[in-house]
Symmetry: C2
Subunit: 240 residues, 2 copies
Amino acid sequence: MNTKHLKKGDELPSSSSGRVRFYNMRYCPFAKRTRMVLWHKKIPHDVININLKDKPDWFFDKNPFGTVPAIERDNDIIFESAVCNNFLEEEYEGASLIPSCKKQRYHERMLMDAFGSVIPKIHTIVTGQNIDEAIENFMKSFQHFEKEIANRKFFGGDEISMLDIHIWPFIQKISVFEEIKEMEILKKLPNTSKWISNMLTVDCVQKTHTVGLNKYLHDVILGEKVDYDYKIEDDPILEA
Amino acid sequence: MNTKHLKKGDELPSSSSGRVRFYNMRYCPFAKRTRMVLWHKKIPHDVININLKDKPDWFFDKNPFGTVPAIERDNDIIFESAVCNNFLEEEYEGASLIPSCKKQRYHERMLMDAFGSVIPKIHTIVTGQNIDEAIENFMKSFQHFEKEIANRKFFGGDEISMLDIHIWPFIQKISVFEEIKEMEILKKLPNTSKWISNMLTVDCVQKTHTVGLNKYLHDVILGEKVDYDYKIEDDPILEA
């Protein structure tokens, strides 16, 4: 199941017992983190897309904060991307995304949390008054990640890990900004650019690519009307 | 040890092997979360206060992001408040702050992460152009926490938990704003107000109260010169 973006007044589709239900917005970078984990671990799931501008009332019974991603399984509800991903990692088998070495595990967690202060700086590149200043602030806050990924395929080493997944949807957005606004950001980040190429070869990155992402960001940036369901029939579905 | 706020050019004090070193800024709400855990679990530690406006170069060797809190033990460095607190919880005995019930544990983690979107709204109460609008936005984002704490002593139940500690330093700031700016915020949050009274009876809350917090916030809000070391000799020290 992969619903259109449900809004106020739309009914909640009935659920299949035991099957994971994933509340999503197709262009939301936080939701995408969890979508990547679902695909990486090959967890069959139904996708309920939510119109975040006009949320159905029943969605607040699921998640009082009204945010995506949220994961539902029978009567368990989990929200907040890092917690959803931790839940999926703990509850499901399949390729692990968390380092077995304790030191490395703490290292990744610290960088995941530290990336939280990079996110608003990415946002400001598009919304801010002074683009050059915004890019400079982003570069400064991201410099440690650029250093960290030198001479490595992924942040986790030879295989992707939770940290790669945590960062990817936001860095991917930057490459779209570049196209739309003719900015040069990633060219100044050679290690990150190589990492992006490596990420694009990974199955869960390919499977979760939303066809209309460029169009969506373009429409948002230019203040045009957004079609959330654009080419939704092309979304890959992981049935079983 | 409880140093004055060290700045560029100041030397790093030599450390005692095996003893926890805590990098702090006395009025930083993120650092305070970790300070509360250190006191709650009665972990002896040295406090190295950092001048965040003029950081010593060696601090970036400890934490490349230059943020507090950071915890150092022998050659291990942990930064980011949630990760520091998790490290202390996992590595040290003493009263646990994480629920043993898995469902409750996930519930707390979700609320801890969700609180992340409340923090900028608290900040805007002081820095924003429209105070009434800022208070309304805070109220909206905090309403679930106000509901959640009805008829309970602490978020964790009868005893404080990591979620209480995660939230406390920010809600405490609001009570100071009220005094300084004559705003009425907490009066409209009766459950939270009761929770604040309960929190004030807890040992780790009392021991980590920084004498000059009101003066500090007052000076910041009015744009006056800040004395970070104000009455630093009154800070309680947990030696052994």
